[in-house]
Subunit: 337 residues, 2 copies
């Protein structure tokens, strides 16, 4: 095992400049140091080609200036969920402003889960943003055992009431779009409900049900596993089978809506003529379909930014307010309903 090449240290600078390491550290960080000493040291830094060793700094300071970003989606998150990327970008921008490095960690296997747990606990990060955690995810334990500053995106698992979170009002928005579908004269309104193992999926279904009240018919809910196009195709077929007279559909995501739209077209139904269709996410899907989708806007970047603030605030000493905050989700009415 070859060692990496030896690199210049504070010690080397001190030797080259003829001062002590303390003085070098003072010019590096800031503190009282004479003009001549400063000049000599700055020259020495260039001369020896100094590169600070952040790992050593982290050890001493107990601060890495890095924040982990962990998405616990069920597989290949980056491939189809458009929100994750935007949330990452939002979080990164906010952390960047505060001079913190965001490092994102992929969790695909049990092995990953364990390794990431070790990574988070090893001092490589000062905090962690966790997306789509479920109660039994081991990461949760690591975070709460270590009291690692953290923020959840989406409802936190019930067990964990001490970690702040940020999310959207899934239930409220679902209720709003469903009500509008009803208000525009749709009588047989169905839903393609996905991801019922996580809060976003559960809440969207709850909102749909609440909006319909007594007229809610469980037959008109097609349950599918994921928020993707293929699930939309499957879900819509199911719905058409169960009730050919269906005239309104709330799809739990834009990708699902796109799949449903294609299926409706194949079945000879027009949208919004025969069937009113609403999606969720306001992703690129929504404007690429024909007709363009009415949908619920998710402020993904802001969500990321708020999550970052939640971490930053804890790092600067504030108590983690166990409460969460829900960001507004305007409904965008386009052409599909």
């Amino acid at each position: 095992m070859p060692q990496p090449p030896k690199r210049a240290t504070v010690h080397d600078i001190a030797a080259a400049a003829g001062v002590s390491r303390g003085t070098v550290s003072r010019v590096l960080n800031g503190g009282y140091v004479s003009a001549e000493a400063r000049a000599a040291i700055e020259a020495a830094i260039l001369e020896v080609g100094y590169v600070p060793n952040t790992a050593a700094r982290t050890l001493k300071m107990r601060r890495s200036q890095a924040v982990g970003f962990v998405a616990l989606e069920p597989h290949s998150l980056f491939l189809d969920d458009p929100n994750i990327g935007a949330i990452m970008l939002g979080a990164n921008a906010a952390l960047s402003l505060a001079d913190h490095q965001m490092v994102s960690l992929v969790v695909e296997s049990a092995r990953d889960m364990e390794r990431v747990g070790r990574y988070l606990s090893g001092g490589f990060v000062d905090g962690a943003i966790v997306v789509s955690a479920r109660t039994h995810d081991p990461i949760i334990r690591v975070i709460s055992d270590l009291r690692l500053p953290a923020a959840f995106v989406g409802h936190p698992p019930d067990l964990e009431r001490t970690i702040p979170y940020v999310g959207i009002d899934n239930q409220g928005s679902a209720r709003a779009v469903t009500a509008r579908l009803a208000a525009t004269g749709r009588r047989r309104i169905g839903m393609i409900a996905a991801a019922l193992d996580r809060d976003s999926g559960i809440d969207r279904l709850a909102g749909f049900r609440a909006a319909l009240g007594a007229t809610f018919d469980p037959e008109l809910v097609a349950e599918v596993p994921h928020y993707d196009y293929g699930s939309g195709v499957k879900g819509m077929r199911l719905l058409l089978e169960r009730d050919p007279a269906i005239d309104g559909v709330f799809a739990a995501s834009d990708a699902i809506a796109a799949g449903a739209l294609e299926t409706l077209r194949e079945a000879g139904r027009t949208v919004p003529g025969d069937v009113g269709l609403v999606g969720f996410d306001d992703s690129t899907w929504a404007v690429r379909t024909q007709p363009q989708l009415s949908t619920v806007h998710q402020p993904a970047k802001e969500i990321g930014a708020v999550a970052a603030q939640l971490i930053l605030r804890q790092l600067s000493g504030e108590q983690p307010t166990p409460a969460g905050q829900l960001l507004p989700t305007p409904v965008i009415w386009r052409d599909s309903a």
Copy 2:
């Protein structure tokens, strides 16, 4: 600034078990230690709730067991480029097997660029996978100055001939599909060429041109900035304007092809009847359009895996072979051409 809570150390374990730190380290890592000492230490570990401090370990070992993943795409990479995600997943899987943590770093601003440079040089990672680097990207300097083990995805910048890389034969595949378009009787073949500021874009155009030889007509090349849907729409409009009789189109990506397809439909052209259309990437786009796209398959996961191997090999002492390797890209013939 509150310090993180104090955590148990090897020292604490040693005290609790009544042995020296050396012995504790031996049970932690492996070495000669008596059964009774081992038992006492293992009990002590649980008792004090020991969590290893990886930062300290990194400092001592000069190894972090982490590898950086840096994508230098022009903005919001995760949002529309389907390949990046798959490459990441492939790299992560390979690194995971070798018990290395992949940490991916977003670069969106100049500030990000600088901070990521510091991060890479600070000892937080043992190596770095770099996607889509351009010659002037500061990261390149950091890596080569530090001799940080690295691997490029895509052609490395010309200046840098010492870093191994992995990619695909963009030029060869472009030539193959274009030739086929010609072989099936298309006479007026155009291309929507994107990302001409990077090798993938340049090479695909070069392949197209080579295949056509003397019949190449620069008028039939529409240049667009990105590999996205919107660019496909714009590019196709341009092409139709320049030559309404166009009967073959090679799109530099599936997203572009999808945009072109929609535009052709709006212009009243049938595919593949009036116009033969080929994409690139074999992404989900390709199977969602109607008709499904003929396209070039990119083995994104393998690319990630090979990049990871390239790093791992250097970490275990092999000299970085400056050569690169190109992975095969089968052409998938579906319905659009």
